[in-house]
């Protein structure tokens, strides 16, 4: 798969480039911008994990204990993301990534 077929990555590359352009003028913006980019990618992965976990639960091939552990892990991960967002002064919608025809993550 080439980069051209990954609009999310193209967007990240574009945002990184814009960050570098501003690096010598507003360092505090660059720090926050970089945190935003990194957290956006982490949030995307977290959501993918969440959907995958739901699929596995719906398939019914996990024991009750595994379901419980998986759910708790994902719940704690979600909470940690909220804390990280608060540290950097970001809203949920700030972690949105464009995914081409799929729209953006929320």
């Amino acid at each position: 798969m080439t980069q051209a077929s990954l609009p999310g990555l193209e967007s990240v590359a574009g945002d990184l480039s814009a960050l570098l352009d501003r690096a010598d003028q507003r360092p505090q913006d660059v720090e926050k911008g970089l945190a935003q980019l990194v957290l956006s990618l982490v949030e995307l992965l977290r959501q993918l994990m969440e959907r995958q976990a739901i699929r596995r639960v719906e398939q019914g091939d996990l024991a009750d204990e595994q379901v419980e552990r998986l759910g708790r892990t994902l719940m704690l991960l979600e909470r940690r993301m909220v804390e990280l967002r608060e540290i950097f002064g970001l809203e949920e919608e700030d972690l949105s990534l464009p995914l081409g025809p799929l729209g953006r993550t929320v």
Partner: protein
């Protein structure tokens, strides 16, 4: 100066920079060091006024500064793309739909987290499962809203439907609608919104920002932020 929008030259206001059949509409006003909220509102107002007398408008991303030479270069280098984009939105306006799920969300989430912390031992053994079930329901809700919007996209008068954001806490979509069917389609969209669980609002009509906003970085695509400039 501020770049506002690309329009057909034959409908462009006097202060535009014209190159052949295309025109970059500009605001020669003072440029502050930072883009302010006031400037963004002024941009939106100017583009909205343009859209009332131009059949096709490609708004430039708010806060974009260009010299006259840069505007001419953009018009020259991307003329084919702009003509195509103008054709895409000609005679159309945008309607928006924003949906958030039924309000079990934050409260239920806080409750689950409280259980997980062990504050309430009753039922703590099922917290992980409850969390996953709640998330499954939220994702299903989002999938259903997206499916409903895509189905709505085949209505007479709707030229395109685009899902702008999708997730378990919010779905945003926009429709590119021919002006002649605008009122009817908006009524139909309101009906659709009334049937979706949760809080759903319909907005517009407004210029087709979601389908044709020019991005000077050249990194966006039409399905995301519009046509790149």
């Amino acid at each position: 100066m501020w770049a506002l929008a690309v329009v057909d030259a034959n409908s462009a206001p006097k202060e535009s920079i014209v190159l052949d059949d295309l025109a970059m509409v500009v605001d020669p006003g003072q440029i502050p060091s930072e883009t302010t909220l006031e400037q963004l509102l002024r941009h939106a107002d100017q583009v909205a006024r343009l859209a009332t007398h131009c059949e096709a408008v490609l708004p430039v991303r708010p806060g974009t500064r260009m010299t006259e030479a840069e505007a001419r270069a953009v018009l020259r280098d991307r003329s084919d793309e702009f003509r195509h984009a103008l054709g895409r939105v000609r005679g159309c306006r945008e309607l928006g739909l924003r949906a958030t799920p039924p309000s079990a969300g934050p409260q239920a989430s806080a409750e689950l987290h409280r259980h997980a912390d062990g504050d309430d031992v009753d039922g703590a053994g099922q917290i992980g499962r409850a969390y996953l079930l709640r998330k499954a329901a939220a994702w299903q809700w989002a999938d259903d809203v997206v499916a409903a919007v895509e189905e709505f996209g085949v209505h007479d008068g709707v030229r395109e439907a685009a899902v702008l954001a999708t997730g378990p806490t919010e779905v945003k979509a926009s429709l590119l609608v021919g002006s002649e069917r605008l009122a009817t389609v908006r009524d139909q969209l309101e009906e659709l919104a009334a049937g979706i669980p949760g809080q759903v609002s319909v907005s517009g009509p407004f210029p087709p920002y979601s389908f044709a906003t020019l991005d000077p970085d050249g990194t966006a695509s039409p399905s995301e932020r519009g046509v790149p400039a």
